[in-house]
């Protein structure tokens, strides 16, 4: 399954790269791409993964890199 999220207040390009690296390390995530330019993140994961709990975990990792960044579902 592929989901796209909007990232508000994603302020720096390097932070986007860090988020991408950090979320990519999650076991459930097959692939992830964080685009600083479009302020979007798209994540691919297996169909049996619970999207809500994954989102929670991803939010935690995003906040760790950039505390002011808000994640919104598309």
């Amino acid at each position: 399954m592929k989901k796209t999220y909007r990232l508000k207040n994603l302020d720096c390009a390097n932070c986007a790269a860090k988020m991408e690296a950090s979320i990519g390390k999650l076991a459930q995530v097959e692939s992830v791409s964080v685009s600083f330019m479009t302020q979007r993140m798209s994540v691919t994961f297996a169909d049996d993964v619970d999207a809500d709990s994954l989102l929670k975990e991803m939010k935690k990792r995003i906040k760790k890199v950039e505390p002011d960044c808000e994640v919104a579902e598309q």
Binding site: D11, A13, N14, S33, F36, R40, K64
Partner: protein, 610 residues
């Protein structure tokens, strides 16, 4: 400017005033003014640095800036500590504004979302959200309004601006029965339109989804630079530590100058100028493509296109218009009109492309037709005006015992028999696109080494089309799986990238397999849009050379940015280690590189189109 940015600007101005005051004041007043300037300019940076450390995030640029300027202040380099923080903030603000500007200007190109639809229900006009329009609803579109969903004109006539959808700059005239595409703007006239699709499945929604997910597939240059940055920062920090520790400890050097040099390193170690420069270039390139009516799915496609070696075309619908028409009429002792009439009657009920061509050559034939039997691979037999008739290939005629004169015409020949006699033949063919030959010449001029045409057609007609548009190589009589093999072997032999251009009908596997798959002719087929790397929204093959030169330009700009940023950083590190470059120079270099890289990237957006 957002509220937050305005506040930052205000803080910068306030701290600059304090900074100036610091120069005129003396002793501790001066130090106090510089310290206040530092705090006002950088309190959010400091706060973020502290929070990040508590979260276990070191080495981000907020922390590095805080550490470098904090140490400078601790060494009583008051003005330097304050100045570096102020410049850092000015640079950040400028960077944000520039990025936002390019984001907005690119988003502006794709500004095609309809805000509302006027639905006619029981004679009343109701303003509806595009998402709530049902198939079959009647929409009223006045001049200046955007069409919300794909539909068909029921009443009225008008002129549509479809430039945002197809890149076609000439307005399109539409009238009753015309299909209209969502996202186009009615320039003049009033149209009543029947909705043929829901918003989610309409052209405009598909284009928007494509654009929004466009930057997923990152270019390798983009991945390389983020990877580099991940190692770059810790390495420079380590170097800074060594620089501060080794000379004083082992070579009996004074501590303070080496610490200053180390702090300069910390400022230079900030990676953002590097990391921003590359994605921004590719993003601008994608924006420039969008302006021309082409949607590029990610930087990787631009990167591959820039090293195009072989361009492979599907014939039907790509090099040719994909619409068949009667090219040659060879009657056998009767009038042409009579031959066409019998043919059209035989084919009256078939929906084969050839039948369509024969019917449109004689739109409403007089006479009756009955007992139509279609024999796939051969043709049709029927009873026309009470007598036996047949239309088909030479094998069909043979089986009916009718001898024919084989034609030499290129294309698909249909032989017609009536009441046991041979009436003559009709040859049906496709038409080459007007600018196909021109596009191929332009590709060659742009450095494409080989052009190839793939087709299911017979050898003779393939050869004719290949010669007419000046293509290097062609493969005829291919089945769909043969096209896949052809691409595989071309990829193996090519030095650069192999680009496949198709109309998206039945060629999804080939689109996926090629280094770059380009689907021409809009967002009609889901499979093609999914499989393709680039979607050309109309069917103008002349855009292909433009796309390739745009890709080359974008990649060049991205490379310039990388080299430039690395060179400046490298020189500053060297000068910093020698004690020539101060923290001032370092922060200027960092901010300056970012700004120049951003401005350079914007050149990709405003790329000239030949």
């Amino acid at each position: 400017m957002t509220k937050r940015q305005k506040r930052t600007l205000f803080r910068i101005i306030a701290s600059l005033v304090l900074f100036a005051a610091g120069w005129f004041l003396e002793d501790w007043f001066s130090a106090g003014a510089f310290l206040a300037a530092w705090l006002i300019a950088g309190y959010d940076v400091l706060w973020r640095a502290i929070r990040n450390i508590l979260r276990g995030q070191f080495f981000d640029e907020k922390f590095l800036m805080s550490l470098a300027t904090g140490c400078a202040l601790a060494m009583q380099d008051w003005s330097e500590g304050a100045a570096v923080m102020i410049f850092f903030q000015i640079g950040e603000l400028f960077e944000q504004l520039a990025v936002e500007r390019s984001r907005v200007s690119i988003a502006g190109l794709m500004d095609l979302r309809p805000d509302y639809a006027m639905v006619l229900r029981d004679g009343a006009e109701i303003e509806t959200a595009p998402e709530d329009v049902q198939i079959g609803d009647i929409l009223l579109v006045r001049a200046g309004e955007r069409i919300a969903v794909d539909g068909v004109v029921l009443e009225g006539a008008g002129t549509l601006d479809t430039s945002k959808i197809t890149g076609e700059s000439l307005p399109a005239e539409v009238g009753v029965g015309s299909a209209v595409v969502s996202g186009s703007v009615n320039i003049s006239g009033v149209l009543k339109i029947r909705a043929e699709s829901a918003y989610a499945h309409s052209t405009v929604a598909r284009i928007l989804t494509l654009v929004e997910t466009a930057s997923e597939k990152k270019a390798s240059a983009e991945r390389m630079i983020t990877k580099f940055a991940r190692h770059y920062t810790p390495c420079v920090i380590l170097a800074a530590v060594l620089l501060a520790a080794i000379p004083p400890l082992f070579f009996a050097q004074p501590f303070q100058p080496w610490l200053t040099r180390a702090l300069t390193f910390l400022v230079i170690s900030c990676p953002c100028a590097l990391v921003i420069s590359v994605p921004l270039s590719f993003f601008s390139g994608m924006g420039a493509a969008a302006k021309l009516g082409m949607i590029v799915k990610g930087g990787v496609a631009l990167e591959q296109l820039s090293r195009t070696d072989t361009v492979v075309f599907d014939k039907t619908g790509t090099l040719t218009q994909g619409s068949f028409s009667v090219k040659e009429i060879a009657p056998n002792g009767i009038a042409e009109a009579e031959l066409l009439r019998v043919a059209a009657l035989c084919e009256a009920y078939s929906n084969h492309p050839i039948a369509n061509a024969l019917r449109s050559a004689c739109p409403s034939p007089a006479g009756t037709v009955a007992d139509v039997q279609e024999q796939p691979g051969f043709g049709i037999t029927a009873t026309v005006d009470g007598k036996k008739a047949a239309a088909g290939n030479s094998k069909l005629m043979q089986s009916l015992g009718i001898s024919v004169r084989e034609t030499e015409a290129v294309g698909t020949s249909i032989y017609i028999a009536y009441d046991g006699a041979y009436l003559g033949s009709l040859t049906v063919g496709d038409t080459l696109r007007e600018n196909a030959a021109q596009a191929i010449t332009a590709l060659r001029a742009d450095g494409v080494k080989k052009t190839v045409m793939l087709t299911g057609d017979n050898f003779r007609s393939a050869q004719l089309y290949a010669t007419a548009c000046g293509i290097d190589e062609f493969h005829a009589q291919l089945l769909p799986q043969d096209k896949v093999h052809a691409i595989e072997s071309l990829t193996k032999n090519a030095q650069g990238a192999v680009v496949f251009v198709g109309d998206g009908v039945n060629d999804a596997p080939v689109l996926t397999l090629a280094d770059v798959g380009i689907a021409m002719g809009g967002v009609g087929s889901d499979a093609a849009v999914e499989a393709a790397d680039v979607v050309i929204l109309n069917d103008d093959i002349g855009k292909l050379p433009k796309l390739i030169s745009l890709a080359k330009r974008t990649v060049t700009i991205a490379r310039q940015n990388i080299v430039f940023a690395l060179a400046v950083k490298g020189i500053c590190l060297l000068l910093g280690a020698l004690g020539i470059a101060s923290m001032w120079l370092a922060v200027f270099a960092d901010v300056g590189v970012a700004v120049l890289a951003i401005l350079n990237s914007l050149r990709a957006l405003h790329s000239k189109t030949k």
